[in-house]
Symmetry: C3
Subunit: 304 residues, 3 copies
Amino acid sequence: QSSVTLYGVMDLSLVKSNGISAQLSGSGLMNNGNSRIGLRGVEDLGGGLKASFNLEQGINPESGALTGGAAGAWNRAAFLELSGGFGGVRLGRSLTPSYYGLAAWELTGAANYSAVANQFGFVAAGARNDSQIAYTTPNFGGVTASLAVVLKPDTPAAVGDNAKYDLNVIYANGPIAAALSYNKVQEHKGNLAIGGSYDLGVAKVAASFQDGYAGGVAPSNTTAQKQRGFTIGATVPVGAFSVTLDIARDTKAKDTDVVIEGKYALSKRTFAYAAYYNDGKQDGAAVYKTGAKNHLGLGIRHNF
Amino acid sequence: QSSVTLYGVMDLSLVKSNGISAQLSGSGLMNNGNSRIGLRGVEDLGGGLKASFNLEQGINPESGALTGGAAGAWNRAAFLELSGGFGGVRLGRSLTPSYYGLAAWELTGAANYSAVANQFGFVAAGARNDSQIAYTTPNFGGVTASLAVVLKPDTPAAVGDNAKYDLNVIYANGPIAAALSYNKVQEHKGNLAIGGSYDLGVAKVAASFQDGYAGGVAPSNTTAQKQRGFTIGATVPVGAFSVTLDIARDTKAKDTDVVIEGKYALSKRTFAYAAYYNDGKQDGAAVYKTGAKNHLGLGIRHNF
Amino acid sequence: QSSVTLYGVMDLSLVKSNGISAQLSGSGLMNNGNSRIGLRGVEDLGGGLKASFNLEQGINPESGALTGGAAGAWNRAAFLELSGGFGGVRLGRSLTPSYYGLAAWELTGAANYSAVANQFGFVAAGARNDSQIAYTTPNFGGVTASLAVVLKPDTPAAVGDNAKYDLNVIYANGPIAAALSYNKVQEHKGNLAIGGSYDLGVAKVAASFQDGYAGGVAPSNTTAQKQRGFTIGATVPVGAFSVTLDIARDTKAKDTDVVIEGKYALSKRTFAYAAYYNDGKQDGAAVYKTGAKNHLGLGIRHNF
């Protein structure tokens, strides 16, 4: 009866941040990814219909702590999906449509040290929603679209009795990927990003335009959280090695974040990485949003 | 060396309750079951003796939260059992004998929207005990009996230095099931239920008599928590579809709870369900014990 | 892609402690081991290089609670290791080198009722470190050595901005095992233990000398926590049965702890045990460190 795949990631790095002694890091800014375990499975219901599920738990391997605490133990994924010729309907805690759109132009695979995500969030908002009801269309010649809603009683109390909408339109065909992502809480400002990438073979280049509000839920009567800017980057693969440069500039705040990443594949499932992150500017409170002016990390990621 | 089976449930529904906006629900009243993961295994020790274990964790798929928190992470099951010709001895956190008796007349499979359980608890008490030491007899011509004890230092501080006893006698043979369940904390009132079901083929009918105290641990010098009443219901299967009606009436409080449930099997492991729950009466505090006068749920349950 | 082994332990006992009613025990003093689940896997990277990981979670089977809470959910192990001809480098939460040294003279397999560990800790300190960076040499004719460091920002705030060092040298060859363990937090007292065991066939005898400070992190300007003493013990196997006597004497506090343990193998993975622990002396506060003067436990441990 059992049909469960158990998978996960263990990722640890040594990090030196400006003004802070060298330290071990697990599930931190200078890790490629957050360590985790997950369960997933698919059942064929016949007639082209499938039921699938995913549960995913974040673990900090420095201590063994649940990164989401008991209240978010499986908060990386906790959903059930029905899919078939009509597309797919996913119910539960999940990555947002905006996040899946962002993958079209984010070059580190949404690493923790992603300049795109640290500068602009995941199209201003978090990467995941609780209580998401999401529909994704079938693939029409490379085009898919997703629309997710979080119903009023299911959004955080802080946003009042308002539903959230989140959508993307993605075009992916051979070397080309392009996407539009948009999300909005009722009675709050909407957040938009649009971008894409092109794989030239010798290099993959990517760019995006970002137009949102810091935190993703700015009240409709303010522009204080306004974020606008662009990202641009390239990845150059050389055999088992690859180098990525990604730049994210907030033109309103005149703040440019830069990440340089080198990866070396030790196997299909394990790679070593080195990354340098430069946080462009202190916030008003004289604090860098990443905690320091710059960071150097050297780590290993093992997928299982 | 490993011999572990990983299993679980993902169950999500859309719910509309009287006076509350529609919402997604995971591990709520209008879910068929609580989402969960579990581990179990059996080892043959030779000579007819077996060692087995079970661990089960509740997860709310709306957020990925542990439904029991860190202090009850595996509180759906955490026990070790030795079984053989003599019967079985189970040690740890487990469903109670009273619960297993209740299965003889509860028609929804102890769904979250069970009228029996929402009206009368699991023979007045909770479904599970911490620190349970339980013995179950071998099957004698369809009859089994279980006796569980929770020793004095292992019961909750709220009941003082008192042990808890919990027992059932079950008869199950072909279309007939009947059971008596009884549980009692020393120096507190005992709780009793007796009932059964008969499978006529075209329908399965069930009924029970309940005589206990709300919460299951009423002090011996009070009758304030007295609950007495009956349950009656029927399930009619039509191919992959089935309809259940279950009614639970507290004759002392003059409170009748009713559930109507329809289930449609999408496969052996996955089904869709619709359920309507009517909570008979407000408590003194003008609050319905289920949170609203009535509830409509439409959901999917996937067992893996 | 999946290559994960899921394993664990379920261990429950009945315990009678001096002055306390009999009770069920899970993950307590009178259990052989703490109940747990774990995940581990190994990947061959080619060229003799391997990547491996381990995650291990403690569970109290009386209630299903995470023994480490959400903040220590996987605190029994959470590490990634690279190993090859050069030895091994392990990053994350792990047992300490001092612990692995102690295994040379501890006869109960570091049972919860170990007299060695309850009297002297794991070479004065805890059994595990967060954020450990550990290197273990290859085996040179039976000799291995391990050195672990916890960097300054990764040690607990209570010890200030100080790194921790932990090391062992182990000799294991046929019937002989001997080890030296040492650990020290900068600006704090160091803790030392040295000992070994010899397997005579009819009996295995063991002894150690202990010289440390209670809790393992005594400030450098005090000797108040001084602990010095020895341990001595023997295990006699008789077929599926074995008896162990282990004595741990703190010569400074004139406190002698004694454990007598009998084990009976029901299979390769399951055994029954009986253990008697005598706590030698009350502390100044008239409280026994184990909670009572003596304890008798009777339990079952199932490895899966």
